[in-house]
Amino acid sequence: MSWLDKIRPSGLGTKKNDRSTSVPEGLWIKCPRCDALLYRPELERNLHVCPKCDHHLRIGARRRLDIFLDDDNRVELGTDIEPVDRLKFKDIKKYKDRLTAAQKATGEKDALVAMRGALYQQPVVAVAFEFAFHGGSMGYAVGEKFTQAAQLCLKEGLPLVCFSATGGARMQEALISLMQMAKTSAIIERLKQAGIPYISVMTDPVYGGVSASLAMLGDINIAEPGARAGFAGPNIIEQTIRQKLPPGFQRSEFLLDHGSIDMIISRLEMRNTVASLLSKFTNVAEPETVTEVEPESKPAVDEAETEAPSEE
């Protein structure tokens, strides 16, 4: 019954969908949806959106922020925040060891990356979940970093944009994870009261405790095409109601139809759409946006990497 799927919905977990979670080495990549063979540099230029079927492949947090923010004036936030194992949680493995492994695998301290930067010269704070880190789950470090980023927005009147990709609350931090739901929701409510725009962008997948807190609380909720978002994972719902779920259930098109989100925006349009939205919310002139995907292959990637905290 319970929360199995909210932590990491099976079928959405890292194992089964490895293909879409991380881009394997090599020059050719098979699209997980249409099976088309895609030339990696071309796919990267297309922001990991399949040019054949428009499938949005999963991308990491740094890449996400990199293709979203202007190249200049980025400052990473909350680099000192570390996960805390208050419970000394241990199952078949120690949580501490799981953390170390995830840190090694991703180069991140935990599952959220936060940056202050600009979007077509409009100052903004953007945060992104790293799904490859423990299923993008929210424990103390994620909640704390989100909250500190939002505090900065509150202090300086900056809009906040969050890209979520997560299985939900992090089981190994138990109730502390649950409390991060209340914590992040409370700080978002402060933004709301202060009239500071908060845009929540859901990218595949967004479930459980994150869906039931910061992800659904945007002044504007956006989803990428085909992204799945919901409270309970599909497996747990099927087990509960003992029927098959309708096709497209919990996909962004379903969320739009049922009034949970404002719009579905292609990754290729995300920068421009959010910039245009924010310009109206903050009453500045519409930015001169560039519609094509930047043709050159991303010196910006390296730039973001050099700004990464020294973790090793």
């Binding site: 319970s2 929360w3 909640g143 609350a169 502390i176 409370a186 402060r190 978002a229 309708p246």
Partner: protein, 317 residues
Amino acid sequence: MNLDYLDFEQPIAELEAKIEELQLVGNDNALNIADEIIKLRGKSLKLTESIFSGLSSWQIVQVARHPLRPHTKDYIGRLFTEFDELHGDRHFGDDKAIIGGVARLDGKPVMVIGEEKGRGVSEKVARNFGMPKPEGYRKALRLMEMAERFKMPILTLIDTPGAYPGIDSEERGISESIAQNLAVMSRLKTPIIATVIGEGSSGGAIAIGVSDWLNMLQYSTYFVISPEGCANIIWKTAEKAPLAAEAMGVTSSVLEELGIADETIPEPLGGAHRDVDAMAGILQGRLIEQLDRLQREPLDQLVEKRFNRLMSYGSTS
């Protein structure tokens, strides 16, 4: 096996059965039977004390879910006077998994909101086994905002296996309904006391759990995922739930240590269901005292404290 007793309580059940037997024959017979009954009662009491002084996390989970455990409805009648139930979220429907209404505690008007699992098959079905849907949380929100307007403190009673994982729940935005409650409860200008009376399961529990003071009954439990769910993920079998319960720290003692629960309310020997009136009496006394204290604080200060407490969750400093 007596189903009113949990498996680890069976030795108590056996003694109690013996006592009952003796009482039946005892009516027309000699004095030594009365003596024997007294002796057995003492033994039963001692045994209960010894069993309940060393409950494991998993045993506490079982007591929290005991079929006879008092529910929100049982408490409402005993804690409050003049309870008027209020229904509906004004948008979709009335969710019977959450009971809400105005009442008086020690003569003072309060807003009461509690999750109700129901008793007996038909009531359980009607109340969806205490698993609220979006309309339940939205009803709760409506009542809580009303409480703020009319300067009534809010008392919530948490007892749920979780928010309902179903198609209709998702269609109507169960995530948003929970998130909205968390956001609004963080700033409501009225005291909020939450009490976990049984099972506090995850988002479905915290959606009425943001508070200035969090009570846990001694044998209640509060978790981010049910021990079975956790065991399913890690060990691929729900049978390891006892290990999961231990690892996650689902009891009031651990949660007090983590600074999440504020107070453990002691239960009668053998659990709240052994003496519901006594349990309600103890809880009522604590609520009156806590409310009195919270109501003496200036509201702005109270809300600021609540916010700061939310911000501090998980910090080691």
